[in-house]
Symmetry: C2
Subunit: 353 residues, 2 copies
């Protein structure tokens, strides 16, 4: 609190990311990172870019990176916006496309950064309750709004919404922007990117932090009509000319170009998830259907907070959302390697015995 | 223009950075990059950080980087804020500390991003004319305001303001934040960092893009009282949890720790500047006093625009500000190597003969 702060600062409740503990030998299943490192081609590209040329600014428009992303998704470069992680992309989306007289709509249980952005930009919003089975009911969004946003699969539930439901929403909602936040889409959820050329108000956001194994490099992007991308570019060029550094650009391009590695590692994560869900169910957990690289599970008798604490004592970190709500009995567990699943299951068996 | 854009987007006039042309064999003297590459210790640190660990998020609080910066400036880590280039730092500064009922003050001739930020955050501002010799007159800022910001040395003039003038300004102006943007301070201008522990409303911003030779890595920072830093942190944590990627952090730490290389390359740039100014004066240029790694110069007879064009035809790029104003006769020329100065002088001798 200070006379020097702008008014808005007093009203903020910043987002709290999952912790990044500095302990060694941790089984870290709390921030949905990929258990497999980036493609060897990414490592090579980065090593090549570590050079004297770091004295020079990067391309402010990230044209080469946009071209690589456009190629992957069979779109034009002018339909691509890139940013310093999908969190920065989302921040610009909120300011550029989601601030209107009517309230923005998003689910009551969703990515907890959304209300934080709303406070930062003084955006009016209204949350829509998920159904009792934690699914998104499209019909609930059928009233006047200044925009709609939700993750697909949703976070932290992991539940995917079928593409036909998203298309139905877009047919009903033509007067405002619909943002589908596909951070986790590559782990078995249908992407809405195929609808972009049909619906000019559809924006889809992606990150390289999950399926592309580059959380440490901070690159995310948005895909949509040129009209929506132009709004984002105008805000970005009024905020920071060069958000993507030379190394981030080189690494991200190599990652987008290595589909074989991407497909292989996604399949490995999905296979581990299938086995992990079965194992957890056999221990008395109820696990929500997951199209993500994490699962959301609650135990039939033991509290989420207590299990989280007992796991931590065994050097295993999962995420638990403390605020009392429908989700507080649940744990959000990142899908790691099979070896990590074994350690987790061994610890849970002890804790629950 | 679109029904989908937020109102603010229609009102933006984005900043236009100096171009980053993709031609080879260019003498690039237009964006004030360092002619010397980063320290060899930076290259080593970056190569070490290119690894499987890029799958993991960076530290959201960049503690190790803040500690290295604090050590350099003999401050506490809690007096340091880091961002994705000093442009991002400045964006957060405008939103967190410079939006008040009274207008923000800055010079009429200054960093042209300042009015862009004001439009992005709907900040009321008033420009104060530089004196006829292009210096900042502190007395002109002595009336009620919501904040004061200017670069020191000023851009694009390069003229330094002595430390005692800045202290006088701080003594007169205790009710709002004073931001000294020291992007170019290391090339012979006195820094105001020594005043931070005395004046709680002083914020100083720095970049690693100039004297630390890392424009390609995007790291900047702000130094000030804990109270001011907390406002910036609250905005940052409502915008993007992880703006500094793992590589940027590792490279920036190594750069902050190699004072010997930093001092040596700054001295080389200053020596080249001294010679370049004398050479330009002998060709009929008037050169403003420079405490930066660029000089601002006009020719006695030939127009700035015409010289810029003729240099470009010879593969030499300098910056010219087109909008008609007091500065349109001037060229802003980055100080490069002695070899680049020779090429520049040879071309200018031809053009002016």
């Amino acid at each position: 609190m200070s006379q020097y702060w702008s008014d808005i600062v007093h009203k903020l409740t910043p987002y709290v990311p999952g912790e990044q503990p500095k302990l060694d030998n941790l089984v870290k299943l709390n921030t949905n990172e990929n258990p497999y490192g980036p493609s060897p081609k990414v490592i090579d590209a980065l090593k090549q870019e570590v050079a004297d040329t770091l004295r020079l600014y990067p391309d402010p428009n990230s044209e080469a990176l946009k071209a690589a992303i456009a190629h992957t998704h069979q779109l034009k470069s002018s339909q691509v916006f890139v940013g310093n992680g999908s969190d920065e992309v989302l921040a610009h989306v909120f300011q550029a496309l989601l601030k209107h007289d009517l309230p923005l709509l998003f689910p009551d249980i969703s990515y907890s950064f959304y209300p934080v952005y709303c406070r930062l930009y003084a955006i009016d919003y209204k949350t829509i309750d998920l159904a009792s089975d934690f699914t998104i009911n499209i019909a609930d969004y059928d009233h006047p709004n200044g925009g709609i946003i939700f993750p697909n699969p949703n976070a932290p539930t992991g539940i995917p919404l079928p593409l036909q439901k998203i298309e139905q929403l877009l047919k009903n909602n033509t007067q405002s922007v619909v943002v589908i936040d596909e951070a986790y889409v590559d782990f078995g959820t249908q992407s809405a990117v195929s609808l972009i050329n049909t619906y000019p108000n559809l924006l889809v956001t992606h990150t390289l932090s999950k399926a592309r194994s580059l959380a440490g490099l901070r690159v995310g992007y948005a895909l949509g009509s040129q009209d929506l991308i132009e709004a984002l570019t105008r805000v970005k060029d009024s905020f920071n000319s060069y958000p993507i550094d030379r190394l981030a650009s080189a690494g991200a391009i190599a990652a987008m170009q290595d589909d074989a590695y991407f497909n292989k590692t996604c399949e490995m994560v999905i296979a581990t998830r299938t086995k992990l869900i079965a194992d957890l169910e056999s221990l008395g957990f109820e696990v929500l259907p997951s199209g993500a690289n994490f699962i959301f599970a609650k135990h039939s008798t033991k509290e989420g907070a207590a299990i989280t604490e007992a796991l931590r004592a065994r050097n295993i970190i999962v995420r638990h959302f403390k605020a009392p709500s429908r989700v507080s009995p649940y744990l959000r567990i990142t899908v790691g390697t099979d070896a990590q699943s074994l350690l987790l299951m061994k610890a849970l068996a002890e804790i629950l015995s």
